[in-house]
Amino acid sequence: MSMGRDGIAGLVLLAISLVLLVQSFQLPSLPIVPVGPGFYPAIVLSFMAAASALLVLQDLAKGRALSAVGADEAPRRNYRLVVIAFVIVGAYVALLPLLGFRVATVLFVAVLQAALGQPRTARQWAVLAAVAVGTTAVSYFIFERYLLVLLPRGAWTGF
C-alpha cells in the first residue's frame, strides 16, 4: 500500500484534529451558558477530522500511476533558495531584539539580496549596499520620526 502527499497530509491533519477534539471535550462548562467553550471547537474539529479522513481515503483510492506522471511534468523549482531564504529570515527575526532594528535590517537586506542573486560587478555590489542602507534608513526615519512607531532596540548593541 502506498500513500501520496495528500494521504500523508490528511493523516497528519486527522491526528491533529483528533488530539484537539479530545482536549475540547475536557474543557470546563460554564454554569449560565447552555453550551460550553468546547462546543464550537468540537464542531470545527469533527468537520476537519472527517474531511481529513476523506482526503486519506481519496488518496488511497486514486492510483499512484496518475500522480507519478504529473510529477515529471511539474516545472523545476529552486527549493534550496527557499530554504536559505527561510533560514535568513529566521536569523533576522532572532537577531532583531539583540542587534536592534538598524543593524539587523542592514545585515538582513544585504545578506538576503546576495543570497538571491550573487552580485558580480562593483556596480551591483553598490546597488546592494545602497538598497540595504536605504531601506533601513528610510523605514527607520519614517516610522520613528513621523509615525511614532518605536522599532526594536538591540539588547547587545543598545542601538
Partner: protein
C-alpha cells in the same frame, strides 16, 4: 445622501487625507505593476504606515492602494506578457499581443481608461447600494449571520479548482486558528497548552501577513534564477507610439454595453466574499468574448478584451468595499487587511457601520472616487518611469517587502511576539501551498471564525432550538444555498475528474 457624499468629498479633499490617498494610490500603481508583488502584499506593506494616522487617513491610503494596484497590474501585462498582479491576469490575453503588434501605448491607455470608467461606474453602485444592503443586514439575527457565513465559506471552498476537500479542510484550519486562545463568552483558555505565547490567541494581522505575503514571496523565490535567460520576450523600455487619449476613450464608449457588463460582473464578484480580482478579470473577459460580434479576434490584441478585464477588476474593488461596509465581511484579502486596520482603531464593522460612522463611510466612498483621478494623473505623469519599474529584480524587492512585513507585525503592539507569529504562519502557509491547499478559504475561515462562534452561541442562548437555523426563512435559504454550492462543486468535480490541472495559488 448626496449631501453626505459631497461632505465626504470636501472632507477628503483636505491635505491630511489627500496626501495619504495620493501616496497610497502611487504605491498601489507601483506595487501592482511589479510582477510578483500582489495588491494584497502592497496593502500589507502600507499597513504599518497607517497605524499612526487617523483612521480615515489610513483607510484612504489603503483604498488608494487598492484602486492603484488594480490598474497598475496592466503595465506588466502589456509589456511582459505576465500579469503584474493576479487581478489583471486577463489583460495579458489581448494586451500583450496588441503591444507586440506595435501598439503598446494604445494597449496600456485602453486599460487605464477602462479602469477609470469601470471604477467610477462601480462607485455609483457603491454609493447607492451599500446603504440598502446594510439595511437588509440589519434585519439579520444571529441565525441569519451564522448561515450567511456558512454560505460564504461553502462558496469559497467550492470554487477551489484543485480539490473541494482541500478547500474545506483549509476553511477548517482557518476556523481552528481563531479558536486558539480565550473563548469569547467565558474567557476559558483553549488549546493553549499552558503556553504564554499563544495564551491570547493568534493576532489576526500577523497571521494574515504570514500566510499571504511570506508564503507568496517564498513561492516566487522557487522560480528565481531558473526562468532568467530563457526565451522571455519583453518590451520593457519600449517607447510608446503616438496616440490620442480622445480616440482611446471613443473606442471604449463605442461599446457602452461591454463597459457596463464588465463593470457589473466585476462588481458582483467583488461583493461575493473572498473571491477577488483575478476571478472578475477572467470572468468578464470570458463574458466579453461570448457576447462579442468578433470573438475570433480575442487573444490577438482585441481592444474588447482589455476593456472587459480592466473595467471589471476596478469595479471589483467597489464590490469588495460594499461587502465590508454593509456586512462587515471582507470581500477579499485586501479588505481583510482594511478590516484589521479598522479594528486597531477600535471601529466596529458590520451593518451599523454606515449609520454609526457616516463620516468614515462617506469618506471611504469619497476616497474611492477620488483615487481614480489620482491614479489617472499618476499614470499620465509617471508613465515613462512605470515602463521601467516592471523590470526591478525580485532579489532586490523580496528583502524590502519582508522587512516591511516584519515592521507591520512588530508595530502592531511593539512586541516580538507578533513577529514570531508572522514567521510561524509564513512557514505554515508555504507548506500548505506546497501541499496543494488553497489559501483563500483559510483566510476566510480566519476572518469569520470569531463571528461564526459568537453568532452560533448567541443563537443558541436566545433559543436552544437548533431547527431555527432551518425554519427562519432567510437563514434557511442561505443554508440551502450553501448545501447547493457544495453540491454543485462536487458535481463539477465529478464531471472534470480526469482533467488534471496544476493550479497557481491565488493570493
Amino acid at each position: 445622501m448626496l449631501d453626505l457624499l459631497w461632505h465626504g468629498l470636501v472632507n477628503i479633499a483636505q491635505w491630511k487625507y489627500m496626501l495619504p490617498l495620493f501616496a497610497g494610490t502611487f504605491i498601489g500603481v507601483i506595487g501592482g505593476s511589479l510582477p510578483g508583488v500582489t495588491i494584497t502584499m502592497t496593502v500589507i506593506v502600507v499597513l504599518p504606515f497607517t497605524y499612526g494616522l487617523d483612521p480615515l487617513a489610513g483607510l484612504a491610503a489603503m483604498t488608494g492602494v487598492y484602486v492603484g494596484g488594480s490598474t497598475g497590474g496592466l503595465i506588466a501585462c502589456c509589456l511582459l506578457g505576465i500579469p503584474g498582479s493576479p487581478a489583471s491576469i486577463a489583460t495579458t490575453f489581448d494586451g500583450f499581443p496588441m503591444s507586440r503588434n506595435g501598439e503598446p501605448g494604445r494597449a496600456i491607455w485602453l486599460g487605464v481608461w477602462a479602469s477609470v470608467w469601470g471604477g467610477l461606474l462601480g462607485a455609483l453602485f457603491l454609493v447607492f447600494l451599500t446603504g440598502p444592503l446594510a439595511a437588509i443586514a440589519l434585519e439579520f439575527g444571529p441565525w441569519e449571520y451564522f448561515s450567511l457565513f456558512v454560505l460564504a465559506m461553502a462558496m469559497v471552498a467550492g470554487l477551489t479548482e484543485s480539490s473541494l476537500l482541500k478547500g474545506l479542510i483549509s476553511t477548517a484550519i482557518g476556523l481552528l486558528i481563531t479558536v486558539v486562545g480565550h473563548d469569547p463568552i467565558g474567557s476559558v483558555p483553549r488549546f493553549t497548552f499552558g503556553s504564554e505565547f499563544i495564551g491570547g490567541g493568534f493576532p489576526f494581522l500577523p497571521v494574515l501577513i504570514g500566510i499571504f505575503a511570506f508564503a507568496q514571496i517564498m513561492t516566487d523565490l522557487e522560480k528565481l534564477n531558473l526562468t532568467r535567460g530563457q526565451t522571455m520576450e519583453s518590451l520593457v523600455g519600449v517607447k510608446l507610439e503616438r496616440f490620442s487619449h480622445l480616440k482611446v476613450n471613443l473606442e471604449i464608449f463605442k461599446q457602452p454595453f461591454l463597459l457596463a457588463w464588465a463593470t457589473i460582473v466585476g462588481l458582483i464578484i467583488g461583493i461575493l466574499p473572498a473571491i477577488g480580482g483575478s476571478a472578475s478579470s477572467v470572468m468578464a473577459y470570458d463574458q466579453a468574448k461570448k457576447f462579442s460580434k468578433t470573438p475570433q479576434l480575442f487573444g490577438k490584441g482585441h481592444p474588447e478584451g482589455i476593456i472587459a478585464s480592466e473595467a471589471s477588476n476596478n469595479a471589483n474593488v467597489s464590490g469588495s468595499l460594499m461587502t465590508i461596509m454593509a456586512f462587515g465581511i471582507p470581500g477579499d484579502a485586501v479588505t481583510a487587511v482594511m478590516l484589521g486596520a479598522m479594528t486597531i482603531h477600535g471601529i466596529q464593522s458590520g451593518p451599523l457601520f454606515i449609520s454609526q460612522n457616516p463620516d468614515l463611510a462617506y469618506g471611504i466612498y469619497a476616497a474611492y472616487i477620488l483615487a481614480h483621478p489620482c491614479m489617472l494623473l499618476i499614470c499620465v505623469v509617471l508613465m515613462p518611469l512605470m515602463l521601467r519599474v516592471t523590470s526591478v529584480r525580485m532579489a532586490v524587492l523580496a528583502p524590502v517587502v519582508l522587512v516591511l512585513c516584519v515592521v507591520g507585525a512588530y508595530a502592531l503592539n511593539n512586541t516580538m511576539q507578533s513577529v514570531y507569529v508572522l514567521l510561524l504562519f509564513g512557514v505554515i502557509g508555504y507548506v500548505l501551498v506546497k501541499l496543494g491547499f488553497p489559501l483563500a478559504p483559510l483566510i476566510l475561515g480566519l476572518i469569520l471564525g470569531d463571528q461564526i462562534e459568537i453568532n452560533l452561541v448567541r443563537a443558541i442562548m436566545t433559543d436552544p432550538d437548533p431547527l431555527l437555523f432551518l425554519t427562519r426563512p432567510i437563514s434557511g435559504v442561505l443554508l440551502l444555498a450553501a448545501v447547493a454550492s457544495v453540491g454543485l462543486a462536487i458535481w463539477q468535480h465529478l464531471r472534470h475528474q480526469y482533467r488534471v490541472v496544476e493550479e497557481e495559488p491565488d493570493f
